[in-house]
Amino acid sequence: MSEDKHKVADILINELQQQQYEFTDGDGQALEINNKGSIGLLAVGYKGLVALRNSRARNNYKNPNNLVATPKKEKE
């Protein structure tokens, strides 16, 4: 099961990372996707998070907080 779960995650994440994202806010104004992120981008949901992470990965951006922690794999 654990292997399957990782496989599913890889496929879905990969699919999400391949997409190009453009978002608008409630007033129809384009939302800027930059390395710093924004509350507006968080409100988009999972796509906003992926867009932020994509942008940071593309630009090799390092948050002053030394960001991005991947959760540890479960103990089998």
């Binding site: 968080l42 960001l67 991005v68 794999k73």
Partner: protein
């Protein structure tokens, strides 16, 4: 069973409050809510007591109170009592809305609902309430098993979790514009904000993925963000509280508004993904005090932070077939599940405590009902007891609850912690019963708590109140005396206080402090202060007792002295007002109620009391206005609807009166006064004999009977004592009951002497054990098989021992005089009786019987509460012998007799042999 394509999105926002939302909507800062307000129906959502979130969110998801759903607090003991654990989905003992929809063929996504861990295997996605929680140290952050269903999505969803280390100032500045000036080493508020932003985003990420990538009919998404922001930052919300530091106020004064703005953005996105064809419901379980009622410090009681919760949450609904731009009054969180069922065209469970909010529909449709969804077979996906192993120790959740102040810091495996948790939850159960007007069920629970924790002020006060409600004045008096004595012991003299203060001052100057000594001293001071306050309350209770004993003058003196003391808490003022009402002094009561309404304009109970005072003054119009406002604030007040029916009746508006009485009876079928008035209206004023007959028939057959007690009726009995008491129906059967040797024969003698017709065959004659006779009817012993004699008992008094009561047919109305006596005395007396007839052994005491009898009495009290056709008065044998006059007054009131109750020459305290011998 799936009938139609329908999408319903339920968004839960813990602690969201119109008092913050409305101004922000007006300023254009919550556009998503503005749209729902414009296109839908909104209103207050009244909460339940006690205001504990896991209990409330489960009531929202089940339509039932906690005594039925089983979630009583934040933690609960393990089955083997080895430790405590956070409440979980396994603790829920009834189906939630998603279980019902699952077995009806609908697909649901449930994200973050509290408590939903471990997840249930529904047809759809379920993400538990533990999934989104952040560990500030990313190294400690790991997947919590059984938090995602289907399990295959577990790793994927964990990849969508966001940690505060991914945040930048762009995320924080909307909450704290001057965040750069915060010294983050000393001031951890920014860290809290980051954590709460991420936790909300984590719920939102899972929810947006589920809504966008999977089919669904129903989705429930729960956010705890606003509640946590309010607990952490409401003290900084304008207007400024004098105790708050100026600099901190300037830094954090906009945090609450920013949290609401962020929540609005999340709602906007979910609504967008749900689509125009979806019905959207926004609810909160309670509000949060944001004005002058904000608490400056929290008392040392169970779940103290919940005292900051306001008693009204929010309700908003929009979608196809829903009215636009309208308000709804009197909605309760119990109504949410029945309303969702009605949206899907599914029947409502009659065992649900809420009702569908039919007022929201543009075109009303028929709503059907079934006895209970819990009895309907199907693939409901409810976790079973076998799933208990899924639940693992969760120290992280316990820590979270401790950090939030909902539970005390503790060792979850200590015996003391387990025991405390057990009694805290019993206390919650008692409060739940009382909130549901089931005092007879609350009483044995409170007795049990009192036996174990006689020093607990909170539970003792509740116990005394409950005894009052059940008219057990003798017992109440006994407990008040014990309580007063224990409080007096806690109060320190002026000298003692000065000494402790001096010692504390000295300790502050010493470095380091002696471990725990200062804390103990402070606690002693606090306990003394609390005892002082509670003593005032005891004074009030004693006055209430005097009122019940018709010693009005003595009671008045106490009330006047309390009022002169000034600075009384609102609950004390309100009780004094009620006592004035009981004494038939509506003008004095009105002065107090009006003062209190100035402070608490949204208190439905106060408005009802005011109405009652106005009714005593025959000002029915104004009384009705108050009652309409009261039921608009909190619909679930059967008393208020009954009074409203009475007002309309007096105003000769019979159609309205009938409507109000129907509502009162739906909420509390045991309101016999309402039944009688309604039948009278249908028969004599609306000329609807069919309805009158149907109502009479339904009541006799027990249709729609719901568990309840007669406590509400007691409130209606509070009227001028000169009012003529209603006479007994000739159809009623008066039963004298109790365990053998509890005083039933004595009661039969009293009623016989008072002229009540007795059903007896006189086959069992007087003997040494009952020298004045037994007054028994032989056929009663065979009631399980032969009920043909029952019509003969109508309009008469018959003795039936308590184990046989369960065989009473439901088609008659009974008035039961139930005799109580110390169970030990009963057993001793029974043994003595056996001994004298040569069937028992001398000096034996069967302890097991004592336990069995106690359980029997507890079960009976519950059984009484579920029977609409039974009214009970509880008479204590011991009290009957020592305070005969008062017990007779109680009996006379209950039987509604114009005749005096004769007891002279019947009550002979020498019969009270066993006790006297001791």
């Amino acid at each position: 069973m799936k009938q139609q394509k329908k999408k319903v999105l339920l968004i839960g926002c813990d602690a969201a409050d119109w008092k913050i939302i409305h101004p922000l909507v007006d300023q254009g800062q919550m556009p998503a809510m503005a749209k729902i307000l414009k296109n839908g129906v909104i209103g207050n959502l009244s909460t339940l007591q006690p205001v504990f979130s896991p209990m409330l969110w489960t009531s929202i998801a089940t339509g039932k109170r906690a005594d039925k759903h089983g979630i009583l607090g934040f933690i609960e003991p393990e089955n083997d009592l080895s430790a405590v654990r956070p409440v979980s989905s396994l603790s829920r003992k009834t189906k939630a809305i998603w279980n019902i929809l699952n077995q009806s063929g609908y697909k649901s996504h449930v994200i973050g609902w509290w408590p939903s861990y471990p997840v249930e295997k529904i047809n759809g996605i379920m993400v538990s309430n533990l999934f989104h929680k952040i560990k500030l140290d990313p190294k400690e952050w790991q997947i919590i098993k059984n938090s995602v269903h289907p399990e295959l999505l577990e790793i994927f969803f964990h990849n969508l979790l966001m940690h505060p280390i991914e945040l930048t100032d762009e995320h924080i500045l909307p909450f704290v514009p001057n965040a750069a000036s915060v010294d983050q080493e000393k001031d951890k508020h920014l860290q809290t904000i980051g954590k709460l932003i991420c936790e909300a985003a984590n719920i939102h990420n899972a929810a947006t993925w589920a809504l966008e990538n999977q089919e669904w009919d129903f989705a429930a998404v729960y956010f705890d963000m606003i509640d946590h922001f309010c607990h952490g930052f409401m003290q900084f919300h304008p207007p400024k509280i004098s105790e708050v530091d100026d600099k901190q106020y300037e830094l954090y004064k906009d945090v609450i508004n920013a949290a609401y703005r962020f929540q609005d953005m999340l709602i906007g996105r979910l609504v967008q993904l749900a689509g125009d064809d979806a019905t959207v419901i926004i609810v909160s379980d309670h509000g949060f005090h944001s004005d002058e009622r904000r608490m400056k410090s929290l008392p040392h009681i169970l779940a103290a932070p919940s005292l900051q919760h306001r008693h009204h949450g929010v309700f908003a609904i929009s979608g196809p077939g829903i009215k636009k731009d309208e308000s709804i009054y009197g909605a309760s969180l119990l109504d949410i599940t029945p309303t969702i069922l009605s949206l899907f065209g599914l029947p409502i469970g009659k065992d649900m405590d809420g009702v569908p909010l039919v007022q929201i529909y543009s075109t009303p449709s028929t709503i059907e009902s079934i006895a209970s969804w819990d009895n309907v077979e199907g693939n409901h996906a409810l976790n079973s007891n076998e799933d208990r192993e899924l639940s693992s120790d969760n120290p992280a959740v316990l820590k979270q609850l401790i950090d939030l102040g909902y539970i005390e810091n503790m060792n979850p495996k200590s015996k003391g912690t387990v025991e405390k948790c057990m009694y805290d939850n019993r206390m919650t159960l008692a409060k739940v019963y009382i909130d549901g007007r089931k005092h007879a069920l609350a009483l044995p629970v409170l007795e049990e708590i009192y036996a174990h924790q006689p020093d607990s002020n909170e539970s003792t006060l509740l116990y005394i109140d409950c005894l009052f409600q059940l008219s057990q004045t003798e017992k109440a008096s006994e407990i008040i005396q014990e309580f007063e004595a224990s409080l007096k012991k806690k109060i320190l003299s002026k000298k003692g206080i000065a000494k402790i203060n001096a010692e504390l001052e000295a300790m502050r100057n010493e470095q380091p402090q002696e471990d725990g000594k200062g804390v103990k001293k402070s606690q002693q001071l606090k306990a003394s202060n609390q005892a002082g306050h509670d003593l005032r309350y005891v004074k009030l209770l004693k006055a209430d007792l005097l009122v019940l004993q018709n010693q009005d003058q003595e009671a008045m003196e106490i009330f006047e002295s309390l009022l002169k003391e000034g600075k009384l808490q609102t609950n004390i003022l309100s009780r004094i007002g009620n006592s004035y009402l009981k004494m038939g002094m509506p003008d004095k009561a009105l002065v107090l109620y009006r003062q209190l309404i100035e402070i608490m304009p949204e208190n439905a109970q106060l408005l009802t009391y005011t109405a009652r005072a106005l009714m005593l003054k025959k000002n029915y119009e104004e009384a009705a206005e108050n009652l309409i406002t009261a039921t608009g604030i909190n619909f679930y007040l059967p008393t208020s609807h009954f009074l409203l029916g009475q007002c309309f009746f007096q105003m000769t508006e019979y159609q309205h009166a009938a409507g109000a009485l129907e509502v009162a009876l739906k909420m509390n079928p045991a309101l016999s006064g309402a039944k009688n008035l309604l039948i009278n209206i249908y028969q004599n004023h609306l000329n609807d004999l069919k309805k009158a007959d149907q109502l009479t028939k339904e009541l006799k057959e027990g249709i729609d009977a719901q568990p309840n007690d007669d406590a509400n009726q007691k409130e209606f009995l509070i009227k001028p004592r000169t009012k003529k008491i209603q006479s007994i129906s000739k159809e009623d059967i008066i039963i004298v009951s109790g365990l053998p040797r509890s005083g039933t024969s004595l009661m039969m003698q009293i009623l016989d002497k008072s002229g009540f017709p007795i059903l007896t065959d006189k086959k069992r004659t007087a003997d040494d054990n009952n020298p004045k006779g037994y007054f028994e009817f032989e056929l009663v012993k065979n009631i399980a098989r032969n009920k043909k004699w029952i019509p003969k008992a109508q309009g008469k008094v018959v003795k039936i021992v308590s184990p046989l009561l369960k065989y009473l047919p439901p088609t008659y109305s009974y008035k039961i005089v139930f005799m109580h006596r110390d169970v030990r005395e009963i057993v001793e007396s029974q043994e003595k009786m056996k001994e004298s007839s040569g069937k028992g052994k001398e000096n034996t005491y069967p302890a097991h019987l004592e336990i069995t009898y106690k359980k029997h009495i507890t079960d009976l009290l519950e059984w009484f509460s579920k029977k609409h056709n039974i009214e009970v008065v509880h008479i204590n044998y011991n009290t009957l012998l020592t305070d005969t006059e008062n017990e007779m007054l109680k009996l006379k009131g209950f039987l509604g007799s114009d005749k005096p109750i004769e007891y002279q020459g019947v009550i002979d305290s020498s019969l009270y042999r066993n006790r006297n011998k001791k």
